[in-house]
């Protein structure tokens, strides 16, 4: 058991080491594939370390390894290190696993990249893995925040991986700014919390919370600020706008960062510090409501997307909403469970989608079609992912989603519960919409839509399964999804709340209902999509416009910040500096004016003398 911390430490440092090597040894990085293999090997090592660490943990025991980071007069302000317990190591496994698989997968997906930029890609990947693990293992708020920002950086760099595409560049910057806006809140929260409690350390804070220290009473505002950070990272409404655009990055990146790990950091944060949030129930309520609303809201958006990755992105947002709702209901563990399962099957979905895009050279589902026959393996794994996302029994997503529904009900959030149910229905619908459109039906003639990079310009007609290195990864994930699902079905880990009996049938019901509707609309064409759209014209329109939220943010940025900056800039140059210039100009003018006194006429000079004498007399307040 003593080893758990050390295993975790190794797991954490492995990718860090590979990052160092890749960034400092320039020729190695430039060489491309060797760099890739190096990074892969190290992440494999990380995976092993993570598993060992998890196996070494014992319940209700945390192992800490700390080093002083910032000293102060009396002791240590904050330290860095590892806090390894059951939860963190579990999360560690997820991160290590997904990042390992994704790196493996990328080797095939980015096969056509020039070596130099491939090396760059893997350097970023290692950095991300390092930072994410650091986040997971963080023993205190400071390290958490540091890694928090670093994963944000990695996401920025990886979204902008194809930096020469204007969309990619824009999306990267947008993602950074929006999350940063949340982080501002996070930082403020941390600072406030510190000045209240005088510590950043989770263990100390936990002890305080247990002891009911009054330093923690009435910290609603603090926790809300911290939640802002989580909302930004985990794309909660209204911060969700960056996630769909983030799909400009390579698909494996989306799978790793924007589906499985980084975006869930917010959830993990709330789960990790739930003992603090419990001190501020009103904040928890807000979390629940916002989460549920986000889930539903994103689901509706997902229904109208034509870009397969965007569908998945919105579904991610929606699922994150689920997790948040559960935490808001006060049952963080349920959210955490869903986090884990979702991590697996959403990665699966993204990677499968990646395979499709790789084959079809397009993100547009309407440019696909009939792929089931040409890419059978991909079809199967995608279907598995879809089923578990839709929440069909014996698949990974089913149990965790049911848990969440139960949690919200038990938490007494009735209306959010309803929203979640509706969202579940929509989820099943839009996922199968994708399945039917992309994999069945007749193949579209020519690939349209944006050409996905890293793929040759093949069209749906001659698409075939991805190279083995990618399919292997897919199968591994699919297997996991199924095993987890069956595992849960066999051994039901009892939850700390009573799940009313109607939950399970309801969950299955809405899922099946959603699938049914999709079947009715797309393959069978009993109801035409257009009719549906016309029925829900307003909603359809709004969804297509993303409810004008992005426009709103753009407006705030352009006319708000940039406008203000222009005003300030003008003020600085033409008023502040202007006054200075006026003063100097006046001095010059004064010189000229005074110069005229020197008229060159001797009498005037004598006036000078007379006046001088008078002046002196007056100055002595004469006559006294």
């Amino acid at each position: 058991m003593a080893a758990t911390g050390d295993y975790a430490l190794w797991a954490w440092l492995a990718p860090g080491l590979s990052f160092l090597l890749l960034s400092l040894v320039v020729p190695l990085r430039r060489s491309g594939r060797p760099a890739a293999w190096l990074s892969i090997v190290f992440s494999a090592g990380a995976l092993v370390g993570a598993i060992l660490a998890w196996r070494a943990t014992v319940p209700d025991m945390a192992r800490r390894i700390l080093w002083e980071w910032i000293p102060v007069e009396d002791g240590v302000l904050t330290s860095v290190g590892v806090l390894a317990d059951a939860d963190s190591t579990l999360m560690l496994i997820l991160v290590a696993l997904v990042s390992f698989l994704v790196q493996l997968y990328s080797l095939g997906y980015l096969a056509d990249e020039p070596p130099a930029s491939l090396g760059r890609y893997y350097a970023y990947q290692s950095l991300f893995a390092f930072s994410m693990m650091g986040l997971v293992l963080a023993p205190n708020f400071v390290q958490l925040f540091i890694c928090w920002e670093l994963v944000g950086l990695c996401s920025y760099l990886l979204i902008g991986y194809w930096y020469q595409r204007p969309e990619a560049a824009r999306a990267a910057v947008k993602a950074f700014w929006v999350t940063k806006a949340g982080d501002v809140g996070f930082l403020i929260g941390i600072v406030m919390l510190w000045s209240r409690t005088g510590t950043f350390d989770f263990s100390d804070l936990f002890a305080m919370a247990q002891g009911g220290s009054d330093a923690l009473t009435g910290i609603a505002l603090v926790m809300f600020f911290i939640y802002l950070g989580a909302a930004g990272k985990s794309a909660q409404f209204p911060f969700h706008i960056w996630l769909p655009d983030a799909m400009e990055g390579p698909t494996p990146v989306s799978a790793l960062i924007h589906a499985a790990t980084m975006v869930t950091a917010g959830v993990y944060l709330l789960f990790r510090t739930s003992f603090l949030f419990e001190q501020a129930p009103e904040v928890l309520h807000a979390v629940g409501w916002i989460g549920a609303f986000t889930a539903l809201f994103a689901a509706t958006l997902a229904c109208v997307q034509a870009d397969i990755k965007r569908v998945l992105a919105y579904s991610t947002v929606s699922q994150l909403g689920y997790m948040m709702a559960a935490i808001g209901a006060g049952f963080a563990s349920a959210g955490f469970l869903h986090l884990l399962t979702h991590g697996v099957f959403k990665a699966l979905l993204f990677l499968a989608a990646g395979a499709v895009i790789h084959a079809v050279a397009s993100n547009d589902i309407f440019a696909m079609g009939g792929l089931a026959r040409r890419m059978p393996q991909t079809f199967v794994v995608f279907l598995i992912g879809t089923l578990s996302l839709a929440g069909i029994p014996f698949f990974a997503g089913f149990f965790s989603k049911e848990e969440i529904l139960g949690a919200t009900w038990a938490g007494g959030l009735t209306l959010p519960f309803a929203m979640l149910v509706l969202a579940a229905f929509l989820t099943a619908f839009y996922m199968f919409r994708v399945v039917f459109i992309a994999f069945f039906g007749s193949p579209a003639a020519v690939a349209t839509g944006a050409p996905a990079h890293g793929a040759h310009g093949r069209d749906a007609g001659h698409a075939h399964d991805a190279p083995p290195i990618m399919t292997v990864v897919l199968w591994v994930l699919a297997l996991l999804a199924v095993t987890i699902g069956i595992g849960f079905a066999r051994s039901h880990p009892e939850s700390e709340f009573v799940v009313p009996g109607f939950i399970t049938p309801l969950a299955i019901g809405v899922a099946v209902g959603g699938i049914a509707l999709a079947t009715v609309v797309y393959p069978l064409r009993w109801i035409s999509p257009d009719w549906l759209a016309r029925r829900l014209a307003a909603l359809n329109e709004a969804a297509h416009e993303r409810f004008w939220l992005d426009d709103l943010f753009a407006l705030a940025y352009r006319s708000g910040i940039l406008g203000l900056s222009r005003i300030v800039g003008w003020f600085d140059r033409y008023i502040v500096d202007g006054i200075l210039n006026v003063l100097s100009a006046w001095t010059l003018t004064a010189g000229d004016r005074l110069r005229r006194v020197q008229s060159g006429q001797v009498q005037d000079y004598i006036y000078g003398i007379a006046l001088g004498v008078l002046l002196v007399m007056v100055l002595l307040r004469w006559p006294r």
């Binding site: 001095t587 010059l588 004064a590 010189g591 000229d592 005074l594 110069r595 006194v597 020197q598 060159g600 001797v602 005037d604 000079y605 004598i606 000078g608 003398i609 006046l611 001088g612 004498v613 002046l615 002196v616 007399m617 100055l619 002595l620 307040r621 004469w622 006559p623 006294r624």
Partner: protein, 476 residues
């Protein structure tokens, strides 16, 4: 009638100078040919001898019932006058004008006469002697100012100088008459007692006298002759004129207003402070738009007088000492600058700032020395001017005149503005022509002397400070 006094007698310098004048006069008459410039060499040698002699004579000793006193202040001033005149004479030797060549005798005679006036003035402690030596100092200046009588500007300048000069000396005499009347004696020491009586008429007289002296030191409202005269007269003479008579004026001020006044000196604080303020501001502002370097230096010189008046406003031994120090710093800086102007003018035939384009690339040494002089005038560390300003401000600060210090310090920035404009011409602008500027060896030597003075004083001011303190000590 006074037989040659043995060396060490208070009068030795004056008598020596008189002899020198006699010799110069005779030699000038006997010297064959139209070119009489060689008397200049003679003059210079004589001055060197006198300067050496001035270190042999020690302070102490009075003559004519204390009308003539050889104290530390007098000696300090006399050495100052001698070295200034020496530099002035040396730098005037390379002058080329034909008139000058033929009339060199008169020129040097006049300079020596004026110098004699200064020497006596610095020791005079009797109103009559003071007034006469004052006039002896002034009258040759009018003559020298108009020496280049072919040029209308020069003559015009001389006439203006003369008229204003006589008016101000009338004012001075009027003031002196009151001082005499109230004190009932022409002895300066007697005046002090009378001031202690604080009789208004006495103060009236002193104010009028201050007006008269204000002209000589060129404080702000009385300064107007300065730029015109400087611009028109021959540069070596101006270099000398810009230092020696002002120093003499300050010595008179010390004698009349500070010596033996006790706490009554506080009378002058408001007047001096006010004069200082207007002089600093006026001088600096009017210097800004100047395009002719000599005019620029003239106005900046006015501003410097303002800074010295700050020291006067401090009315303390330190203040007076710091003024003396300032005078010496100003001597080297200002004369040096004027001599560089002369050098450039001889080569370029222009005294405009524009003539200095790219001087740094044409003849770097000359440019560097000019820069040093300007920095010294601007009061930058490690050249004399910095310490001068610092000490003066310091004395004022001791008197609690922080506002005056602030005004002075801030206006220094304005001064640096126009000094840097010249520096810009020299260093930043590209030269029109490449070939270096030829400098007459003697002129170069004088410039070198000034650089030496500026730098040495800047790096190691201590001995001079001590000397100044010793000189100003007996005043209080």
């Amino acid at each position: 009638m006074s037989a040659l006094p043995e060396p060490g007698s208070p009068l030795v310098l004056e008598v020596g100078l008189a002899l020198l004048m006699l010799i110069v006069f005779v030699v000038g008459l006997l010297l064959p040919g139209p070119d009489k410039r060689r008397v200049g060499v003679l003059t210079a040698l004589g001055l060197v001898v006198l300067f050496g002699l001035s270190w042999r004579t020690e302070a102490g000793g009075e003559l004519f019932r204390g009308a003539f006193v050889q104290d530390e202040l007098a000696l300090f001033a006399k050495r100052l006058f001698l070295i200034t005149t020496l530099i002035g004479v040396l730098s005037s030797l390379p002058l080329r004008a034909v008139t000058f060549a033929r009339r060199a005798t008169e020129y040097y005679l006049a300079i020596l006469a004026s110098l004699l006036g200064m020497l006596v003035l610095s020791s005079a402690r009797d109103l009559v002697l003071l007034f006469v030596s004052f006039e002896l100092m002034s009258i040759p200046l009018y003559y020298l100012a108009g020496f280049i009588k072919r040029e209308p500007e020069a003559v015009e300048a001389a006439l203006k100088f003369f008229l204003i000069g006589t008016v101000s000396s009338a004012v001075l005499a009027y003031g002196l008459s009151f001082m005499y009347g109230v004190a009932g004696t022409t002895d300066v020491r007697g005046l002090a007692g009378a001031v202690a009586g604080g009789h208004p008429v006495m103060l009236l007289g002193m104010l009028l006298a201050l007006g008269g002296l204000g002209f000589k030191i060129a404080a702000f409202p009385f300064h107007m002759w300065v730029p015109d005269t400087y611009e028109a007269a021959s540069t070596p003479f101006v270099a000398w004129l810009s230092v020696a008579p002002k120093a003499a004026g300050f010595v008179v001020i010390f004698r009349l207003y500070l010596e033996g006044m006790g706490d009554r000196v506080l009378y002058w604080v408001p007047a001096a402070a006010a004069l200082a303020t207007v002089t600093i501001i006026g001088g600096n502002l009017m210097a800004i738009p100047q395009q002719n370097v000599k005019r620029l230096l003239a106005y900046s010189g006015v501003a410097h007088i303002g800074y010295m008046l700050v020291g006067l406003a401090a009315v303390s031994a330190n203040g007076a000492a710091m003024m003396l120090f300032y005078l010496v710093a100003y001597l080297f800086g200002n004369m040096g600058a004027f001599l560089v102007v002369e050098a450039v003018a001889q080569a370029e035939g222009s005294e405009a700032i524009a003539a200095y384009r790219g001087l740094a690339q044409r003849s770097p040494i000359l440019a560097l020395s000019m820069l040093l002089f300007l920095l010294s005038l601007g009061g930058i560390p490690f050249v004399a001017g910095f310490w001068a300003k610092l000490y003066v401000f310091w004395a004022a600060a001791e008197q609690g005149l922080y506002w005056l210090v602030l005004v002075g310090a801030v206006l220094t920035v304005v001064a640096l503005f126009y000094y840097l404009l010249v520096a810009k011409r020299m260093y930043i602008d590209a030269p029109d022509r490449r070939e270096p500027i030829p400098v007459a060896p003697l002129l170069g030597f004088c410039i070198f002397l000034c650089v030496l003075g500026v730098v040495v004083m800047g790096v190691y001011p201590k001995p001079l400070v001590v000397a100044a303190l010793r000189a100003a000590g007996p005043l209080f």
